[in-house]
């Protein structure tokens, strides 16, 4: 056996395709039809794979990546410092942001001295790969387990999610801090 590229079969199921004339018995197709019928009738008695949705639900994957969320810490301050590492790591180039300096009196809003004034994710471009989450040095961006990824809409502009949709709601941060304490 030569090891030319034609003879390599990685799956081990390679089949040589031939165009040979069929014998008389084959051209009647009767044997082939009976064979096919046998295959389908086997499936008739096989265990069904259907999940009866509202009653049963499919098990959630532990690595499921849902919609993004910009995290707040226990005191309700935004983690994000607008370093731009997430935008850099994003393979789909979906993330843009504009940094701003924290003013006096805003310490209860932002954890660090620099924060994201504008933080936008284009949900039409996002592929939910989770690289932004991995790149973030401040644990600011997370992909949640929310089942709703992006709600349907009529305008393309509505798919660019700003901070209003991305930042964790304050109530949730409060609830989180309570559960930690």
């Amino acid at each position: 056996m030569s090891t030319s590229i034609q003879n390599i079969s990685l799956s081990g199921r390679k089949k040589e395709v031939s165009n040979k004339e069929m014998t008389f018995m084959e051209s009647l197709y009767l044997v082939a039809i009976v064979k096919g019928l046998m295959i389908t009738i086997k499936h008739f008695f096989r265990k069904k794979v259907t999940i009866h949705y509202p009653e049963q639900t499919r098990e959630m994957s532990p690595v499921y990546r849902g919609r993004h969320m910009l995290k707040r810490d226990e005191q309700g301050r935004e983690n994000c410092t607008a370093c731009g590492l997430c935008a850099l790591s994003c393979p789909a180039e979906a993330i843009t942001m504009k940094a701003a300096e924290r003013k006096k009196g805003e310490e209860h809003l932002y954890r660090e001295e620099k924060y994201a004034e504008i933080y936008e994710i284009n949900m039409l471009r996002c592929i939910f790969c989770g690289l932004c989450e991995e790149a973030c040095p401040k644990d600011a961006i997370y992909l949640t387990v929310s089942k709703e990824l992006v709600p349907a809409n009529y305008d393309r502009e509505d798919f660019i999610f700003g901070k209003d949709k991305l930042v964790m709601p304050l109530e949730m941060a409060i609830a989180n801090s309570k559960s930690v304490n």
Partner: protein
């Protein structure tokens, strides 16, 4: 002779046969979806009623309440006549089918057949050959090229396979010596089923029955992947429902004909013993049940084949009909003739 009891008796039989045909057609749609699902490792409809048993009612309700749509056609009348012909021809055949031998009710023998005419088998063929008009007229009146293509395909397919069907039956008729379906069923009592003597004839008839009912692998008249919906592309609401319903009624009737011609009809092993020891009525009720079971097996076979074999190409269809089935049927006739001469 034509007294009122005669009319009442026949009227009841016709009504019951009509109702049973409709019921079977209705539940064939449910069974089709269930069988398709099971063959594909799914469970099928299971929400409407237990195991989805109310699904046909829900489907019917949906079809009734849908919008009545008319395409821009110069033949609104023919557009309506199409499904009407399809439905009526589908239901007409059941008039000559024997559902059982006889029942004794109030000391009166009731023959379980709407009418026992001399030329029952020819009648069946006549109705089948007219059945194509429903598809042709509907497809043409739709004023749509896909519908017309479906209609043209259906007509040429029907004509081609009718020839082979008729020839395959001739071999059977040479054995039975009668065209009456009642006598053909009576000849097959106990295990003398015709399929054991005429397997080739049965095979040809089965293939032609698939073609005549426009079922996969011969559903070229309505193949949705090529012709959108074929002849019923433009139909909506209950007119569409009639076409679909007619297909299932045809399937039931052709299964019944297959069972009666080749699988002994209402006969089952031990029927004679039952008649002698238990009674005529019990034996014949069992006979009706036996016939219905045979019909159900054939309906299942129809569905099983549909979800196994892909559709033929049109030239393959014509090749099979004219160059394989017809010569095979003629050879079968000759062999049958030789056998009859040799053994009788």
């Amino acid at each position: 002779m034509l007294d009122s009891t005669f009319f009442i008796e026949k009227g009841i039989i016709i009504l019951v046969v009509f109702a049973v045909t409709m019921l079977f057609a209705m539940y064939s749609t449910w069974a089709e979806r269930k069988v398709a699902a099971f063959l594909q490792d799914r469970v099928g409809p299971n929400r409407a009623g237990f195991g989805g048993l109310l699904q046909p009612l829900a489907d019917g309700l949906k079809l009734f309440s849908k919008e009545e749509f008319f395409p821009n056609t110069p033949n609104r009348f023919l557009f309506i006549v199409g499904p009407a012909i399809a439905m009526s021809t589908a239901l007409m055949t059941s008039a000559v089918l024997p559902w059982g031998d006889k029942l004794v009710i109030f000391g009166k023998e009731v023959i379980l057949q709407a009418t026992d005419i001399d030329v029952a088998l020819l009648y069946v063929f006549g109705v089948i050959s007219v059945g194509v008009y429903g598809i042709m007229i509907g497809g043409w009146a739709s004023n749509n090229k896909f519908s017309l293509m479906g209609a043209v395909r259906a007509s040429s397919q029907m004509i081609s396979y009718e020839v082979a069907m008729g020839l395959s039956i001739i071999a059977l008729l040479m054995m039975t010596g009668t065209l009456s379906l009642k006598e053909i069923s009576m000849q097959q009592s106990e295990w003398r089923w015709n399929v054991l003597y005429q397997p080739v004839s049965f095979l040809i008839f089965l293939i032609c029955a698939f073609a005549e009912t426009n079922r996969t692998p011969f559903d070229l008249a309505e193949c949705e992947s090529e012709l959108i919906g074929g002849y019923h592309t433009e139909y909506s609401s209950m007119k569409m429902g009639f076409y679909l319903f007619a297909e299932y009624a045809n399937m039931f009737i052709s299964s019944a004909i297959l069972a009666i011609l080749f699988f002994g009809g209402y006969n089952y092993p031990g029927m004679q013993w039952m008649t002698e020891n238990v009674g005529v009525n019990a034996a014949n009720v069992l006979g009706i049940i036996a016939l219905l079971i045979k019909i159900c097996c054939f309906i299942f076979f129809y569905m099983w084949v549909r979800w196994t074999i892909p559709r033929f190409r049109y030239d393959q269809l014509m090749n099979l009909g004219w160059r394989i089935l017809i010569p095979l049927a003629i050879i079968n006739i000759m062999i049958t003739g030789v056998c009859i001469l040799a053994f009788k």
